[in-house]
């Protein structure tokens, strides 16, 4: 047997013009736990999906147990003994655990030929060819057995429930085989997924961010299961971006950054600081302008905000912050730590559980999105697929402008295309959007131009607060700088900007202050010119919590707050403390 369970050699995978994986080399030894570490968008999941048969690499080789293989489908991957627990569970909600596992059961074969041969050879050795009729009878019975075996095999058997209990006991899980998936907690679902891959006899197990949705106790339990599996000879790859978990569970760790392979280290010979540095990389000076605007009053203030996500878990947990006019506040954090929910809550698209959102001192909680837009708060969120939110891809630029402006002149039943077209032309000219005309459907434009249309439209409604999430997602450098310029111009005209970003380098050069979120909790708000990238990295992974370390600073609460009736206990700290600093 080869020393390595899996070897990935020079794997390249591109989606259109985006390079998701560039020359990746990952090796998994037999019976070890390998952690795959990297920020979001570093291509970890894409790489693993090539092992589970969802994607095929553009070039490069995959070796399983030393042999070169081609994995065309999840079925191939299963046959090779690779099992993947996806981040978004692949379970049928209305089935119980047992059916979810047994639906992938491979049909067994009845070895009729062998059994018949055995009867023949037995008859020969015992020399009873006189009783031919008896031999024939035996053979007939065997054929009948085979037939009844296959007929039985067509039907579902109640015994599958007992078999599942047996198996789960063997692996040390507690699970109710009759429980339906939709009745299960997240951790139970995960157990079901792990049990599933084990039942299929997987020797190589890939877990995609298994701890993202678990509580501390559940994580402990999961890790003890993983350790037990390792002892039994399973090889495990665990994708994560939590450093403490890497240190705790893994034997070796492979680091990826922006689709590139960085390094593989032995966990015992490294430390969290080194891993953070490798994960976020060296600071790059991007030479982005950061105009400084004079002191203005807070525009948007958020106090003790708590929001739940779609699954009902807490997405944002008691966060305070504020944005002044002419200020750009960056929001840093690993994706999925509440940015989307935060943006949606501010725009009025999502209900909040607790807390206050105040615009110029007036609460906007519970207002309709329309009212919130009227107050001058604009939200633009660029999702991963880039066209999903905010723009109608098949409509022209003009029509997309109308989507936001059609309410003007309320008593006119007809759409005012003329002014919309003027607006579209103005946006095209101002932002240098490359398009044949303002009547071109948005989906025909390149990614950068689509985003310019979206940002441009939001700016045309002259907002005083701009919430923008990932505005440069997937853009090339020039388009990105164009977007930064647009935002900076808005900032100079006194608009407050909340900039949710992915790239720390960009945020460090563009934003005035940066708020760091980690699992919905605010880790602190720092001045962008006084913080190091390493510090941000530590805060993002939850290892440095400034708001706990220096509670007296009251991050996120302005001393000249517009909120009169504030529920802050420690009022003296306002008097003492100046504008807080890092």
């Amino acid at each position: 047997m080869s020393e390595y369970a899996i070897q990935l050699k020079n794997i390249v995978k591109t989606f259109g013009s985006v390079v998701a994986n560039n020359n990746i080399n990952v090796e998994l030894k037999q019976g070890e736990i390998l952690a795959l570490l990297g920020e979001n968008g570093s291509g970890k999941t894409t790489l693993m999906n090539m092992l589970s048969g969802i994607y095929q690499p553009d070039s490069g080789e995959i070796l399983v147990n030393g042999e070169k293989v081609l994995i065309h489908s999840p079925e191939d991957s299963k046959k090779l003994g690779i099992g993947m627990v996806h981040q978004h569970f692949k379970l049928v909600d209305v089935f119980d655990v047992t059916d979810n596992i047994y639906m992938g059961e491979v049909n067994k074969k009845y070895n009729l030929k062998e059994k018949l041969a055995a009867i023949n050879s037995k008859a020969e050795s015992e020399n009873i060819d006189k009783k031919k009729s008896k031999l024939f009878l035996k053979k007939t019975r065997e054929c009948f057995n085979a037939l009844s075996f296959y007929i039985k095999n067509i039907f579902l058997n109640k015994k599958r429930y007992y078999k599942l209990i047996e198996l789960s006991n063997k692996f040390g899980f507690e699970i109710d085989p009759h429980k339906k998936i939709y009745d299960m907690s997240v951790s139970e679902k995960q157990t079901a997924e792990i049990l599933k891959v084990l039942c299929y006899g997987a020797k190589i197990i890939i877990l995609d961010e298994p701890t993202a949705v678990l509580t501390v106790q559940e994580i402990k339990k999961l890790f003890s299961v993983l350790k037990k599996m390792k002892q039994e000879g399973h090889s495990i790859i665990i994708i994560t971006h939590k450093l403490n978990e890497v240190m705790e569970i893994s034997d070796r760790v492979t680091i990826m950054r922006k689709g590139e392979f960085v390094k593989t280290l032995e966990t015992a010979k490294t430390n969290e600081q080194e891993l953070t540095d490798l994960m976020v990389g060296k600071k790059v000076d991007l030479k982005i302008n950061r105009p400084v605007v004079g002191f203005k009053k807070p525009l948007l203030e958020i106090r003790n905000l708590t929001i739940k996500n779609d699954e009902g878990a807490i997405a944002i947990d008691g966060v305070d912050f504020y944005i002044r006019g002419g200020e750009m506040l960056g929001v840093a954090g690993i994706s999925g730590c509440g940015q989307k929910e935060l943006c949606e809550a501010i725009a009025g698209l999502r209900k909040i559980e607790d807390g206050e959102i105040c615009h110029k001192g007036e609460s906007i909680v519970g207002l309709s999105p329309e009212k919130i837009i009227e107050k001058g708060i604009s939200m633009s969120f660029i999702p991963e697929d880039r066209l999903g939110m905010g723009l109608a891809p098949s409509l022209s630029i003009t029509d997309n402008m109308i989507l936001k402006t059609y309410r003007k002149g309320k008593f006119n039943p007809f759409v005012d295309r003329k002014s919309a077209k003027e607006l579209a032309d103005k946006v095209i000219k101002e932002l240098n959007i490359v398009t044949p005309s303002s009547e071109t459907p948005v989906r025909r434009l390149s990614g950068g131009n689509v985003q310019k249309v979206l940002v441009g439209r939001e700016i045309q409604s002259t907002p005083n607060v701009i919430v923008t999430a990932y505005p440069v997602r997937g853009l090339d450098i020039n388009s990105s700088y164009a977007i930064y310029d647009i935002l900076n111009k808005q900032k100079q005209s006194g608009t407050g900007i909340l900039f949710v970003g992915e790239d720390l380098d960009v945020m460090l050069s563009l934003c005035d202050k940066i708020m760091v979120l980690c699992h919905g909790k605010m880790m602190g708000i720092v001045h962008a010119d006084k913080v190091t990238k390493e510090q941000l990295g530590l805060m993002m992974t939850g290892m440095l919590n400034l708001s706990e370390a220096k509670p007296e600073k009251n991050y996120g609460i302005a001393k000249d707050s517009n909120i009169v009736n504030n529920n802050v206990k420690n009022e003296e700290s306002f008097a003492k403390g100046e504008e807080h600093e890092d």
């Binding site: 994607y55 489908s73 046959k79 692949k90 909600d93 047994y102 639906m103 067509i154 039907f155 579902l156």
Partner: protein
């Protein structure tokens, strides 16, 4: 009493093609495809089975022809939606227009010198041959349950078999998994496309038999322009009414069959019970003709208004599956 028995018996006779259409559509929907082409597939099955029966002069082969023609239409639908990834709703509607058109095209051309084609009377009577010997002589139960044509019993057997297949077999489990969450099914190594192809084709074949029924029983093997007459659409609604269960479809198709039977039997009913039900004859017959369609609309409205998290509606129905989508 006779009027009631004849009404109920007629309800079964009229419900059977609905049952076939519904069962076929359940196979489609449970494996994740919303096939709106039932009407068209039934029409093709009708004309194919009709020609097959006339040509071979055998009812068994006629049924087989109907099945094969329907299955071919199902295969076409499967090819368009699974391999070519066409939109299921649009493809289904196109199948309806196509199927009904094919049926009319062939039927019109069968006309010889202005007369409509009629199936060999011997064959028609074979199809309509009534009931199971001996059992059909039992009073009340006999005429009600045991004096129907062979296709009624075939329809019931198919519905029960489909129910067993879906709920009691491993293949059925896999097929339901695909209808609920194709990504999950794919990730455990189930061949999603293959299962969908098989189920859609099979479902098409069953619809085809339903179409044949419309041609040779409901229309007595006499060509007219509108053999299926909207029964295919009722079947689509019946799937929801039956909550995607082939056994509940038995009951559902009987109820809808009753509505359809009222059209012709309401007169008898009023005549036999002039005091209690005399008023029913005063309602114009158009109302009874519209009744099943009104009920269909009501069922659809109730279903969409309830918003309940029904465990039976397949959650991936109508959505084409792309493996690389996440």
């Amino acid at each position: 009493m006779n009027a009631i028995i004849s009404l109920l018996s007629s309800a079964i006779t009229r419900g059977a093609p609905l049952l076939l259409g519904t069962t076929g559509e359940i196979l489609n929907e449970k494996s994740g495809s919303l096939n709106l082409g039932v009407e068209g597939i039934m029409a093709v099955g009708a004309i194919g089975g009709f020609l097959g029966a006339c040509w071979t002069e055998s009812i068994i082969l006629g049924i087989l022809f109907g099945f094969i023609c329907g299955a071919l239409c199902g295969l076409l639908f499967a090819f368009l939606t699974i391999t070519m990834k066409a939109n299921q709703n649009v493809t289904g509607l196109a199948m309806t227009i196509f199927g009904v058109g094919v049926c009319r095209f062939i039927g019109q051309n069968m006309k010889t010198e202005g007369t409509f084609p009629i199936m060999n009377p011997n064959l028609t009577s074979k199809f309509a041959e009534n009931g199971i010997p001996l059992l059909k002589n039992i009073p009340i139960i006999g005429p009600l349950l045991f004096s129907h044509n062979i296709l009624v019993y075939l329809a019931i057997i198919i519905a029960v078999c489909v129910w067993i297949y879906m709920n009691k077999t491993k293949a059925g489990l896999k097929m339901r998994a695909i209808g609920e969450n194709p990504a999950a099914a794919d990730s455990v190594g189930i061949n999603v496309d293959l299962y969908k192809y098989i189920n859609i084709t099979l479902g098409g074949g069953i619809m085809g038999i339903g179409g044949l029924y419309m041609g040779v029983i409901i229309n007595n093997g006499t060509w007219n322009d509108d053999w299926i007459g909207g029964y295919g659409w009722i079947a689509v609604a019946l799937v929801i009414f039956a909550n995607w269960s082939a056994v509940k479809a038995l009951l559902g198709s009987f109820i809808f069959g009753l509505m359809l039977a009222l059209q012709s039997k309401v007169g008898n009913l009023a005549a036999e019970f002039p005091n209690a039900l005399g008023w029913t004859a005063k309602i114009p017959v158009e109302f009874y003709m519209a009744l099943p369609f009104i009920l269909t609309a009501v069922v659809l409205i109730i279903n969409s208004a309830m918003h309940k998290k029904s465990g039976n509606a397949p959650s991936a129905m109508g959505i084409n599956y792309y493996r690389e989508d996440r």
